[in-house]
Subunit: 199 residues, 2 copies
């Protein structure tokens, strides 16, 4: 195919992980979502637990303290632990793209790989009902109101993306293809991604 | 097809008009872009010239005077001429959707028809280079810097959409399918729209 790397950004509960996995399987290429955590841990020396809690879901990426921690890095000549994490993540994603054809989920990969011409950048979203049903099926009920649960996770992703890329998350112009998985269904989403990647 | 009405919102110069026309031809259904102006004129009594200048490109939709004119309507019990235009446009689009399968370009049709389940809402965008080349080829050089020309027209569409729908123009969540016509090419955009409309 012409586009050998597919990045997938997604609203929480839209099925972006599953759609990406199905696309990778149909193309016979690698799939990277949580596997990236292990690799970032190996290369950075940070613990997997820290990475899991602070990678794209960082709840504090919009907070004053986080921004201080990030910007203080330059002033003192050494990177904050958050900056170290983002840099390690960037490096791992760049290495993956250089090394092999693959599907990469989240983690600002669309932005990190924006200058490559062999990538297809995809955004997956869906209406509330479809996302709520998907989250319940996949993660169960954790006691929090569903509306809040979806909003919290997407807000963290939006803030993290905004902080590191200076772009707005979920805006059409940032992606080559954006799909409503609620209306289209997961199989059609995979078909459309594969058709677009052939260009 | 399952979705018998396709609305196409588009960045200026992205080829949305041509893509919509090709999709309508391939599906053997009607195509409405400027044809809507004639129908709005017939139903509202407003002149085609006034409609052409003040429909979705209204340069003043973000201006204080426009907003006063719009909101004054309710206070005085009669609609301003701008409100009359938007209402006539809404009515024409609802009638078209009720009457026949069709492709409708712009004019907040995605919002006006949001509660129908037989519509596919599409957004078309492209990078600066593709849009600049398309505008030059289609409309020629009018002496204004191209960057400004693209920005002006999209700003007017964005403001008009925002004013009438209270939504943000060009945000993935508002559309079932968003396509980068610069990367994908017009023919592939048509293929993807047809595949999505089949669902």
């Amino acid at each position: 195919m012409a586009k050998r790397i597919i990045t997938i950004s997604r609203e929480f509960g839209s099925g972006g992980h599953s759609i990406g996995l199905m696309a990778a399987e149909r193309l016979g290429i690698s799939f990277y979502d949580n596997q990236i955590i292990t690799e970032v841990a190996r290369q950075s020396g940070l613990s997997e637990e820290f990475i899991r809690e602070n990678e794209e879901y960082a709840s504090h990426s919009n907070s004053f303290l986080y921004q201080i921690a990030m910007s203080a890095a330059g002033s003192y000549g050494y990177p904050s632990v958050y900056q170290k994490l983002y840099e390690a993540q960037t490096q791992v994603i760049e290495q993956l793209a250089e090394r092999e054809s693959c599907v990469i989920i989240g983690r600002c990969a669309d932005y990190i790989l924006r200058d490559r011409t062999d990538c297809l950048h995809v955004f997956i979203h869906a209406d509330y009902e479809h996302r709520a049903a998907h989250v319940l099926e996949k993660y169960g009920d954790n006691g929090k109101p569903m509306q809040q649960r979806l909003k919290d996770k997407d807000s963290r992703r939006r803030n993290y993306y905004r902080f590191h890329t200076d772009r707005d998350w979920g805006v059409c112009a940032n992606y080559h293809l954006a799909l409503d998985s609620g209306l289209l269904g997961m199989d059609t989403c995979v078909d459309l991604i594969l058709a677009a990647a052939r260009v």
